[in-house]
Structure formats: C-alpha cells, structure tokens
Symmetry: C2
Subunit: 431 residues, 2 copies
C-alpha cells in the first residue's frame, strides 16, 4: 500500500471533517501504572453463561423510590448509559400490574376461540413450528414522557426518567394472521380480546385489522426466550402501538364483534383532549426523540462531542431528526444510524464543538407520515392539561458554563404542574 492509498483511505474515513482537532481532554503523556495489572494474573475461566463486568453493575433500570408497591408500576431503561439501538434484555423497561408471573413453558397453552370455525389450543412447541418472523421493533409505554414534564421543570431530570419507558428488541414469533387463518375467522368478527395470565388477568381489545396486518405472537427476544418481565414464554408484539396493548404472558385470544371495554382501556390508557373529550383506543405512539448524550445530570468538557440520541415513531419510519444547539433558534439535521426501519428506534448523531458558553440543546423527530414532535405549549393545545399519556413534547437540556447538564425545559405560564394533575395515578409516574 503506497502513501497515496493511505491518504486516500484516511480522507475517506474522516469525511465528517477534522472535528478531532477541536478535542480537548485526550490525555497525552506517560502510561500510568496499574493499567497492566491484569497481565500478571490468570483470568476468569470459560463459563457456561456470561455476566457483566463487576465495574458495570451500576448500570440498572430506574425504579422510582416513591412507588407504594413494586408489584405494580414501571422500571425505566437507562437510556443515558446505552449505545446503539438494541436494548439489552436485562435492561428492557418493565411495566406490570400484579408482578411478573412465573410461567412453566411445559404447561403453557394459548387458546384461540370465540368467532372462529375451529377453536384451537397451541402449546409453545406448536407455535415454534409455524413459519417465523424476526423484526426489530420499539415498545413504548403510553405513559412514557410523564416524568419528563413538570412545571416548573424538575431540575433533577435525566434522559432515563424523561423517556426511559421505551426499549427496542429483535422479536421472533409467528404472525398472528397465520394462527387466525388456522382457526378460521367467522363472519362478524371485528375484535380480538387478548388476555394475560398474570395475577391481574390483564385484558384488552385489539382490532382485527391490526391483528392481520403485522401483529406477532412472539416467543423470542434478542435471540433467546423472551424474558419473564417481557412476557415469557409468549406475548403479543403490536408494532408501533402503545406497550399496554402488547399483552404479555398471553393465554387466550377471543374473537368478538365488539371490544371488551376493560378497565385498562377505559379508566386507564385513555386520553383527555384539549376540548374536554376523552378518547379511547389511542394506540398509535407519536414521534419521539431524546438526546441521551449530553443529557440531564451529566458533566461535559469543552471541545468535541458527538451528540447522541434515540428517535422513534409508531407511524412508521423516522424520516428525520433535527437538533438545535442554541435553544431552538437554529436546527441542523442529524445523521441517522442505521437507515431507519419501520417501527424501530434509530440512533441520531450530530458532531459538535462546545465553546464553553451556556446553551440549550434539543432534538425533534419527524416521521414518514409528516408528524413532528410538538413543543410543550403545542402539546397542550391538542391534549388537555390533565392528560397523562402520549406526552411527546421536545425535551431540552441546558448546558451550564461549568459543563453541568440539567433539564432545559422552560416554566410555562398557566400550565399544569404535571401530567395527569387531575389526580389519577400513572403507569410511569413517580407520584
């Protein structure tokens, strides 16, 4: 390889510009003692099942200390400590209503009945024999964002607490449409009533049209069996729709002509709109984005930084993410990685040289249907002040002259102190 080739390859590799010249804090000097100690010790032997480094044990899901019970509530994916798009299964957010059931897969049965020609019972092994599909989808709690909004802003907010009720996995399962064809859909069937085998007997209504479109009866997550918290051994994956309809620990699907109108689609998981009306069945998740670095309670130095974040939308692919480095006056388009897949999250990145002056950064996602994240003010023109769900307003982070990052949201005149301020509890809420 000649010199020209080297320069050619180098040039290609740094097409983004000579940003590293802006770096500071890249240590230069002598090799510290201590770094070579592992070379003097015989290491850990082969193991049948691996674990994280002892130095990574602090990367955990966030559980609000204010919960009255850990048997109903949520834990948050630590978005501000992760890279890429796939969420490690051990850190996938949780949301359950009576704890995580411990299901024996040998006893597992899925019943499909109601308006079908042939009521069927499937064992886990039966389900695995059907043609399978593997797809990467985000799952987001309808209550995500609930902690991201406080008025005046919560100055202890982190990216994790703001938007950590979202995770992305590679899901494997059998298309529900195949099982329904096997059972034979009867005239008049319009709804499916999936039921969980948790102690809450959690139950919802799912339109037949969505069930036939892209819903999975999933048994694997990121290559292995679904984790207990995510519905072991079988759950519904309902791409792009709120997590609460993606029934976990699935035991029964009844086909009916009308929805079941369960507690969790009437008193819970319904939206209060600005005109005072209540909307039920608001399943689609609006576009979202969150800057995960630099984000709340982190500390940065002057010089080069790659601003990193996540974006997603229940309406399809993320079309673009814009980032503002000056409090919303100017916006620049972020790079997206990988090329956006439908109903999956995408990582966004912007190169930035911080000059040490106080500023506010924020991100805004737009999906392929043209939906864009609203400002906080805009959010409350569509949804009522006491709504609790589907909060997807732009999250801002303020970077102080000392490099400390805190919530950059502004205090809004006449706005509620928090979502759902009318008094109802919340799936993701800390209060």
């Amino acid at each position: 390889m000649n010199r020209r080739k080297i320069l050619q390859l180098l040039g290609k590799s740094v097409a983004a510009g000579a940003f590293f010249k802006l770096s500071t804090g890249l240590a230069q000097g002598k090799i510290p003692q201590g770094a070579t100690e592992p070379m003097k010790t015989l290491g850990i032997p082969l193991r049948e099942y691996g674990e994280r480094s002892e130095f990574e044990q602090k990367v955990i899901r966030y559980i609000s200390p204010n919960l009255r019970s850990r048997h109903t509530g949520a834990s948050f994916t630590p978005l501000d400590q992760l890279e890429g798009v796939i969420t490690p299964s051990s850190l996938h957010f949780e949301r359950h209503h009576s704890g995580v059931p411990n299901v024996n897969p040998a006893e597992y049965r899925l019943v499909v009945h109601g308006l079908v020609s042939r009521p069927l019972i499937f064992t886990l092994q039966d389900l695995k024999r059907f043609p399978s599909i593997t797809r990467t989808y985000f799952i987001e709690c309808a209550g995500n964002g609930q902690n991201g909004y406080r008025n005046p802003p919560d100055m202890t907010l982190t990216a994790t607490r703001s938007r950590g009720l979202v995770s992305t996995s590679s899901w494997t399962g059998v298309p529900l449409s195949i099982l329904l064809k096997e059972a034979g859909i009867k005239e008049g069937a319009r709804w499916l009533i999936p039921e969980s085998q948790d102690a809450a007997a959690y139950i919802r209504s799912l339109p037949l049209e969505k069930a036939l479109e892209d819903v999975l009866v999933a048994y694997a997550q990121n290559g292995e069996a679904i984790r207990p918290e995510q519905g072991y051994p079988v759950r519904l994956v309902v791409p792009g729709w709120e997590g609460s309809i993606q029934v976990k620990w699935l035991r029964r699907i009844e086909l009916t002509d009308t929805p079941v109108m369960s507690k969790d689609e009437t008193s819970e998981y319904t939206d209060v709109m600005a005109d005072g009306k209540i909307w039920a069945f608001t399943w689609l998740m609006e576009p979202q984005s969150i800057i995960t670095y630099p984000s709340g309670l982190q500390q940065i130095e002057r010089g080069f930084h790659e601003i990193r974040g996540l974006a997603w939308s229940g309406f399809g692919r993320v079309r673009r993410v814009e980032v503002s480095l000056d409090g919303g006056r100017n916006w620049k388009r972020a790079a997206l990685e990988p090329a956006p897949d439908p109903l999956s999250a995408v990582r966004f990145k912007v190169n930035w040289a911080w000059d040490g002056r106080e500023t506010v950064i924020m991100s805004r996602a737009t999906d392929e249907k043209g939906n864009t994240q609203p400002t906080q003010e805009e959010f409350f023109t569509r949804w009522a002040r006491n709504n609790r769900y589907h909060y997807n307003a732009i999250q801002a982070w303020r970077i102080g002259a000392d490099g400390r990052v805190v919530n950059g949201d502004r205090t809004l005149a006449g706005a509620p102190a928090q979502l759902g301020a009318a008094g109802r509890g919340g799936c993701g809420g800390e209060s």
Copy 2:
C-alpha cells in the same frame, strides 16, 4: 372492516402457501389444568436488572469436558437453541488463552505508538468522545468447524458443536482510522501490532490497509459495555476476519513496517494447504452455513417444519443460501431474513412438509464474491488433510424414520480422522 378486506389481508399474510394444512401435532381439545396457576399468585416485583426464566437455565454455552484447563480454550454459542441473528451477549462464544482479565475501566489506557507523529494515550472516556459507529458483525473463530469434521462422522454432533464458534453482535466504537489520523501515520508504516492485556500478552499483526478500511476500536456490544469475555472494556472489531485477530482487552497498538510474527500467527492460526505449503495471514473467513433446526440430536414429528439456519461470509454479504432436502440431489433457494448486511450473519428459512421417510438435509451458502461452501471432498483438495482452520464444508443432517436427527456427513475413503490430525492442539477442538 368488511369480509373482503379480511380475506384480502389473510391472503397476503399467508402468501407462502397453505403449509399449515400439512401440520400435525397442533393440539386441539380442552384447556389443560395447571396453565392458569400463575394467575393465582402475585408475581415477581420490579427489578433493577433482569434475568432469564428459571426454565431457561439449561440454554448454556457448550464447553468440552475433554479440556485440560478452562483457562485456555473455547466455549460454543448454543446455535441450536437460539432464534434471529443477534447472539445474546451472555451466550457469545468465548476463546481465550490465559483466562478473561478483570480490567478496571478507570485505569484503562490505550497506547498508540511506533511509526506515528504523535504517540497517544487514550482513556476509555476519551475513546467514547470520538465519533462512533454501530454495526452488526459476526465474529468467528478460525477453528470453527473443527468439531464438525470427524471421519467416520461423529454421530453425537450437534449444530452447536459443529459451528458454535461464531456469534453476531451489534458493536459500537470509534473507527480506528480516526485514532490513527489523530496520531499521524509516518512514512513507512505498513502494519499495526495490537496487543492484549490478558495474562498471555496476546499479540498479532494487522495490515494498515484493513485498519483504515473498517476496523473499530469497540467499547459496546448489543447496547451495553462489552462483556468481559469479549474484551471489556475495549477490543478490536475486524469485520469479516478471523476472531483471533480481533484483539480483546486491547492495551497497545504499535505501528511498524513489518509484522511481528508472533506465536499466534506462525505456529497457530496458519493454514496447511493441499500442496504442503503453509499459508500465514489467512484472515478472511470463508462462507459458512448451518441448519440449526432440525439439527443433530433433535427429534421431529411428521408434517410442517420451517427449516431454519444461519449463514455468513467474511467476503461481504451472503448472496444466497440453498437447502437440499434429499441428500444433495436437488437444491432450493432459502428465504433470507433480514436482507443481508455486509459481514453480518443472516437467518435462512425453508418451508418443509416432512413425509416421515428417512432423508438427509443440508445447506450451502454463497457470498457476493461468488464463493460457495465446498463439500468435504472438495475441502481437502484445497486444504491439507492435517489443516485445522477455516473448515467450512457443507454440514448434513440425517433424519431417521423415527424423526431423530443425527450427523448426516458421509465416511470419506482415505481422509483424515479429524482436522489437525497431525497432532497440533486446537482452539475449538475438543481433543
């Protein structure tokens, strides 16, 4: 939604054909008792870090009972128990030479020196500040396949033992080219000497051209910090090349004009060719595929099955995978999922109705450069009979009339009893 729309959606969803009519064993009848027990018990509360179900603890890496020490050797990914493409990090194959070092990230330093203008030391935090890339790549031990070949065939072979020294992860890191530009490559530099901080002081030679092309200095795997067994906190990812050059626990990179000719690129990890010559620096991994279901020691019933497997190649994208259901006489093209990415694994699938007669199934991958997996006979026309590495011959599985699946390879006249039969030990070998 009217009847026509339902039928239209159903038709679309089962375009693969009415294969489910061929199914047997899909239980039909009454709901068994026992399946509803979890509904009577309050479940597991929210947890900061999740674990697998107690019923999945048997899914583990395979470690040969014949190893003299677990401090040097390999453990195999249980390919026959996983779905999709991403390998759960806890089940990523292992290969190390003096155990897994326990590195404190606060003390971690990477030194870049030798033929550079500015010798540099990077902390872990420094590396994370650089522009990052996340890509899905397979990593495969050069010795993968070593257990897949025995003459006469090993009738206890599983897909895991045949090809389980391969795993696929989403890797995040900084392109090595950026760090090299930061250091300034001096005239005459042609090689990089990456060194590990394990107790073996493992060291290799990497051509500068590859380093500039696509090598990552990686610090994250599947979203979180790299696992200890895969190089925590920092490793090289050298896409498509044998795992042994993707130096883990990376502490030092020296730029030189010549390779270092270390033990692991001279006495080990070199190939004996059919003409008796030894080839060093044979880094590229040949195309591979393995049917993971049905595979060795599994048991199947008559009726519909989705044959599933994995394919990959170090030369770029997998172009096609063909599957034979009749011992190699006829081949049909498998469906690939997802659309193949360069230097990543891909899942392949073929719908099959087994009529209960004994048969032999096998798969064959071809990559975008036109390389195809050889038969066992063809393999030994290129490589010598005592070669140990890069065995990528077609793996066959025999399905008996009783549904039991065993190794379907044939006994070869005049062929060696096993790879490396001349007596050298093996990275993946059980003997």
